[in-house]
């Protein structure tokens, strides 16, 4: 198991956002979490990556207890993530965005005197190309399209060579065409590198096309877990989720 979550609970001012969720993701698999708005998907992500602390429960990543670890340490263990609301460094160029992540990953961020431009040029360019932004290296990242920014975010996450990638709605706000391209890109990278992936998504088609296992979160609880076909056939799930949105 690359990631295990045991009976994790989190409440905000009495509102229980995540209520006793347990899951275990084997290495190299693609898992998706679905659920209506407010089901607790993003909260669960933030708990896993250490951005918020659990009230109860335990989190283990690669056999290491990460329950009380700060995000930067969890990241350094080999977990990468993207955020639901695009999370880049808007006034830096695309190149600088990705280069910063490479610098951090390679432990060069404590170099105080050498010009930063000379660091990891090739690695950075390769990553930019990998996420399909070859022509935008010198463009200020805040000015590129929303879809491109999502791709850039993926590049930032990949720069730290993660073993587990957490993507929070990687195609949110994208057009149908962009969605397909992005999912294809993500699928290709995951398979090439043998990464594990946990992602949340609104678009059912996207989920069923790429995920090997789907979990359904509803009001902070996991109500179902299974293959895409099983989830499609699950009546409870249809009631709380598919029925509501379609």
């Amino acid at each position: 198991m690359i990631l295990t979550v045991e009976k994790v609970k989190k409440s905000f001012d009495g509102f229980i956002a995540v209520n006793g969720v347990s899951l275990a993701i084997p290495k190299g698999e693609i898992w998706a979490i679905i659920g209506p708005n407010g089901a607790g998907k993003t909260t669960l992500f933030n708990l896993i990556t250490g951005h918020i602390r659990v009230n109860e429960g335990k989190l283990t990543f690669k056999g290491i207890d990460i329950t009380r670890m700060p995000p930067h340490q969890i990241c350094r263990l080999g977990m990468g993530r993207s955020f639901q609301r695009t999370n880049i460094f808007p006034r830096l160029t695309v190149f600088q965005n990705i280069q910063a992540a490479v610098l951090a990953h390679r432990g060069k961020s404590f170099n105080f005197f050498k010009p930063v431009d000379s660091f990891f040029r090739d690695e950075t360019r390769a990553l930019i190309e990998r996420v399909g932004l070859k022509d935008y290296g010198e463009t200020v990242s805040g000015t590129i399209s929303y879809g491109f920014q999502k791709q850039l975010e993926l590049g930032i996450a990949l720069a730290s060579e993660p073993e587990l990638l957490l993507l929070d709605e990687p195609t949110a706000g994208m057009s149908v065409k962009e969605t397909h391209q992005t999912m294809e890109l993500i699928g290709r990278i995951i398979r090439e590198k043998g990464l594990s992936l946990l992602f949340t998504e609104h678009d059912m088609e996207v989920v069923f096309s790429i995920a090997e296992t789907v979990m359904v979160l509803h009001q902070g609880r996991l109500i179902a877990e299974g293959s895409p076909a099983e989830i499609r056939g699950n009546l409870d799930v249809q009631k709380v989720y598919l029925g509501e949105t379609r």
């Binding site: 990556t49 990468g80 955020f83 910063a100 992540a101 404590f110 105080f112 005197f113 930063v116 930032i156």
Partner: protein, 308 residues
Amino acid sequence: MLKRNWFLIIITLFLALLPCTESRFYIFLGTDILIMGLFAVSLNLLLGYTGLVSFGQAAYFGIGAYTCALLMKKAAVVFPLAFVAAALAGAIGALLIGFFCIRLTKIYFSMLTLAFSQIVWAIVFKWNSLTGGDTGLIGINFPQYLDSSTRFYYFTLGVVVVSLYILGKVVGSPFGRILATIRENPERTEFIGINVKLFQLIAFMISGFFAGISGALFGIFNHSLFPDLLYWPMSAEVLIMSILGGMYNFLGPAVGAAVMLYLRMLVTSYTQYWPLIMGTILALLLFFFPGGIVGFLKSQRIFAKGKR
């Protein structure tokens, strides 16, 4: 880049030749601008580069000034040692204060930096036996070998150029780039594997170090110190200089210091309403040229587009 280097060489030559005017007025103003310019650039490491609106920069300036002056006057420490001690004291002061401040964000962070600097002010103000309190610390002399305003000017110029060179290296290094990512997005920076608070704290110390240097220069330059230089308007003034000159440019704050000090000198000889004029200039600038003076000039392509 080339064009930018030429620009720097011209400025440095101009500053180096300034004493040839043999005008006490310009030498005095030049020294003042150099000292405040370094102070403003040191603040801008936090403000423009790391995205931390520190409202208590006067504390490190004051700590540097008093450390240098007290060591020389009360403990008869030689100037070079006292000077280095001032820089270190500024860094240590920033470490202690920063340690608490970085635990808060945004306006709460700014208010806490203000609160701490006021505490430092209160200590200096009340500790009569050591600092002289409100009557100040009078009779801090130039060290013998710097005993003329021209010599002290050159000494200041040397210290400021070296300091700015080092600071420039730091902001252009990987460390500096990480500071920029923290300014842009601390949450994301944390999840590229960076201990954001540690980086912020180091930035605080570097900033305090150079603020301490400028404070030490200031004390000797004025031959006296008063608690006023730790009081909050001093912190506000250096913030205004940075914003006036342009906080997204390395030398912007120094340009801001130069313009502000020169204008003040000019305006106060005609009228007592300097704060009114300063306020108007600042308000207009914020509305029409939010990038400050340097930001505006750059957008007009008067200078080559240098790197931030």
